[in-house]
Symmetry: D2
């Protein structure tokens, strides 16, 4: 089974290359009679759009989404939504000098090994440009969640670490997130990151980051044990985002160092409902949501497109060196924030409908 | 789509509860004409089997596997393999006093929220007993890998951290792994862990751990971008194991702190083949294997079954306290080592056949 | 993706060979809290069981089903149901003389071509013995339909043609169906068939048949256009039954000869609901149920196991002749009736839950 | 799981409505390095294109296909192919007077029951316009078959019955098929059909038909028992085409009337290979191809769009009458011929890659 689709009941398939005429997706399984227009999707795409500050790639893409099918008289029809975005700012000549060389840290060598050819223009299909379609699908998924549950689920992402510099979690302020170019919830850290990232950027270097995505209002009961656990599908969703190298749920890696006493999220009844006294579990136990906030974190590696020459080989089997020019992000983690939010939305919408299939 | 299956071309489905008459699985898609007998599977089950040292649960399960279908005259037929293991040492009465209480950190409350009932005997379906069938499927997956590629892929796991105590990676010795009850590659650390874990065990407490699984000999080209990336499927596979809270590939979480220069795995030709000068990528770029070792790490939380009373609620909505007696692992991470190896084998076998479908 | 599973939300996987120790299945996706015991399944298996009259194979199989997992305290748990039936009356020596020869009309040659080996004992996996598990899954599917909709869907099958002898549809009487060994709704035809089939049986020959399955009470709206249409999935379900060579919906093949005027099922309101004035469509339009009776017919070829010698070849590439002894059905169509009913139930349960996922 | 995709390893998903801006599909799993350009697809679309004779709808659609992604420098890349066709000749006003009425024999009522709304313009998603994308996917599937096997598989379709008028199978001539507007292999029958269909057309009526699709050169061994049998998947593929009401394999419905002796396709060795002396099986035994020609037949009902008024109801629950004007086919079966060929190609490509996954 080929790999360009995600989800089972809410299922989308993406297509398109970084430097082809357009990118797009087909979303199948969307419930009928949801009011949907392009602006409902555009608002999220605008969060991910490049070129909004000096800290992201300078490629100028308006990323205007079109709904090509699946909506009739302003409502979803229950048949496939087709979405498309034209590629506008394509400069393929930037890539001419690397067409035969494998960039270290990129997918060049592995695509070549798998397919015996590759679209070297901007990475072709392996480009992070594909994530625009994740954001579009995520926008539709949010509409589905609200349609089925009523407004209630709130999905928010934040950059919690840039390079070695983590935020002070005691300073977490969701309002700060929209007030700086990093989606950083700690205003003071955001300030410090500006200088830090300017240094990286001017040096033609790059740096990694950690993103946290939190979904509030998720009802208890979502997730399909034992393989399609909610956390397992979130892990797959996040790890499938370009450059992601780790995924954590709740306490995550730190859980290894905890005792059973520390790790157990105790419970008490509050106003007739279960209240947990902590959330080490990240809102998921046995692969099923508990009703607490679902908390996922993922680490993004630094962009491999840097100005310092690196040793590599070319497709003819010769040693060589490489410098990647083009237009790139000094910290791709920044633009991964809305992508992570979108994947959370997609996983929740899929599991909500899967749960509804079996349990009503 | 229900959640008790894993894989697409090599696909298995597990069934059975901790305290039912048996557990089992059906493996579909196994190539025909592979020599297979029960001992090929038993050898791996014996690694996971409980009660082999004082550091794992004292439940006595011989875990003798039976091949019930799919083998004829000693060879796989290409039709479904059915495997089963009888449950022998079932003490359901141990669970009588917790049948109405939700154990913190367990799946009790979330299963109840999802299904409106639960099999409280040993956790029913949410029990780690299910992982025996992962190990069995993994054993068959190893045979498939060898059948298609010839011997070459070597999958090995190790415990690299117990509680806060990490190994010294400079002391890594694969031979040490089999020589201590923890699958620890650092003999000195293993020695120290004995006392440490005895303390935990005697206190009726528990502790988390980190496991690393390494697959050598994996050919370049496996993985299906962009959603069924090899690392995305490994993340799902590992996160679906009971108690896992994080998954890392290669440099993992540390990649967030690296610069682009540090993170790029440079290449040089060696003897006509590409040699990488480092492996921050963990053997996967763009979701496709590079030919380097595939490296996955995952953190396991501490068992939630502890002797210290914890605050909780019962299914009638009353506050109460709970102590979990039963027979449990002070560090479930130990027995997760062969399970992690098995999931690696299953993911690789599935992706090898998927690759063969498309690329020949 | 391997082929031993059926369905998406109600999904089952079968395993086992005709002459192995047992056959079984795993049913995943069953809603929780349905009262279920073995007798709920046994009642349908008893309809299919061989050896009940002189007109079916004399193999004596009690076909006692066991529920091995997925039921707790008399209720489904929402986790996988595992069902198994032991094979009791296995006479593999009957097959010794055909182990190297390809029986014409059997799957011997095609299995050999695909897998390079075959389990010649009773056809191994290609045996109609597998259909016992379809009947078991169908029994559970019926429980699911009633659980979700309340009692209302009624699925009934009948033999409407034996060899060239069709029933008189004007004589259709559902009560007659249970009163003869053929599930024939035309008592007079059934009487005539007795002599006819005795002749076939005594000659060591065999004959084909046509089966009709009707589901009443199916709500309008089931089916997923455009590929997973309700009729498309019924066609697949029925064609996957051993020996089936055609599938028709409603008017079926006869629709080719109709004019648009004749074929249009006109509508009128009756008591506030849509009443169709005919049912050429067989209850399905555009792949979606209309609320009328869903009507499927399928033709079954004659058993290929006959006493007249046939020309064939063996696996060594030599011409030879063959006579199939063993114990066989002179008209396998008879025992296909409960199997067709079961497949109808499975398809409806799957589509009901799929519909619920998307449309609530 | 939503229903707008077909296939597992060769998997395509279609989108678009009859009167929307465009229709399209995404084909995933195509092997890399296949030379492919738009004209390779266009040649098959031109066979299906409407308005080529007075016997098909007069809607004028050039049906020019565009490859939007998945091809680089003239070769498939192994990543998703996106294809699109603009809708040019849309006259939605034709449908204004039927927007609230359910046309008998159409999907109007069932779509309404399922989704609670419908795109009444030309049937929206339920329109046979969707089949253009099946033909496009089929064109790519043919390239895949040739790429993997070398030229060898030949898929051809023919109209073998129009209304009650069947061809004389003794007159079958494949060359005649291209020489008349009906794809009829019997030149004499084709001549007679002209007058017959003119009468139907002028009366504003319509008539059904039977199509036969034959694939020669199919290697033995394709098909995945027991549910994804080659014939089961062909049955689903053909039944999913608009207006199809029956599917037969080989002898099909006639097999019901045959004796075991008549039905057994005997074998002899010829030039070192197995030669079958007849093909009642239609090239498939036990769900697996035998190496003989694969033969499928399907019946298409008459178009429901006719000029004679029919009784119906509207969406407000009122009785009414309806006349369907628009532009329609007097015998949609004609244009179903290339669609049936395409579905055969898609099923074979999918099963060829599935077989390769498991058996190499």
């Amino acid at each position: 089974m080929p790999g360009n689709s995600f989800g089972h009941t809410f299922r989308y398939t993406t297509w398109g290359e970084s430097h082809g005429p357009a990118i797009g997706c087909v979303i199948d399984g969307v419930p009928p009679r949801i009011a949907l227009e392009e602006s409902d999707i555009q608002v999220w795409l605008d969060k991910r759009r490049p070129g909004q500050s000096r800290f992201t790639t300078q490629r100028k893409e308006p990323d205007k989404v079109q709904i090509v099918s699946g909506v009739f008289e302003g409502q979803t029809t229950g048949t496939p939504l087709a979405l498309a975005i034209e590629n506008k700012d394509v400069r393929s000549k930037d890539y001419g000098d690397i067409k035969d060389k494998f960039r270290p840290g990129h997918a060049d060598q592995s695509y070549w090994a798998k397919y015996g050819l590759r679209d070297y223009r901007g990475g072709g299909r392996s480009s992070a440009r594909e994530t625009a379609m994740r954001v579009a699908a995520g926008a539709v998924a949010r509409k589905v969640l609200d349609h089925i549950l009523g407004p209630g689920i709130r999905i928010r992402g934040a950059l919690v670490q840039m390079g070695p510099h983590a935020i002070d979690r005691g300073q977490w302020d969701w309002e700060a997130v929209e007030a700086n170019p990093f989606w950083c919830p700690d205003a003071k850290a955001a300030k410090a990151w500006e200088n830090y990232l300017d240094g990286i950027r001017k040096a033609g270097s790059s740096i990694g980051a950690v993103i946290e995505v939190v979904a509030g209002g998720v009802p208890a009961g979502l997730g399909e044990p034992v393989y399609d656990k909610l956390d397992a599908d979130l892990a797959k969703a996040m790890m499938s985002i370009n450059a992601v190298k780790s995924v954590e749920i709740g306490a995550g890696l730190e859980a290894a160092s905890l005792s059973g006493e520390e790790n157990a999220d105790e419970m008490r009844m509050r106003d007739g409902k279960i209240a947990f006294l902590s959330n080490k579990a990240g809102g998921i136990l046995g692969g099923i949501s508990t009703g607490q906030e679902v908390v996922v974190r993922f680490a993004v590696k630094p962009t491999s497109s840097i100005l310092t020459p690196r040793r590599t080989v070319d497709r003819f089997g010769q040693d060589t060196d490489i410098v990647t020019k083009g237009r790139h992000d000094p910290c791709v983690g920044i633009r991964a924030v809305p992508v992570g939010e979108a994947m959370m939305a997609v996983v929740l919408a899929d599991h909500l409908m899967r749960h509804r299939a079996q349990c009503g």
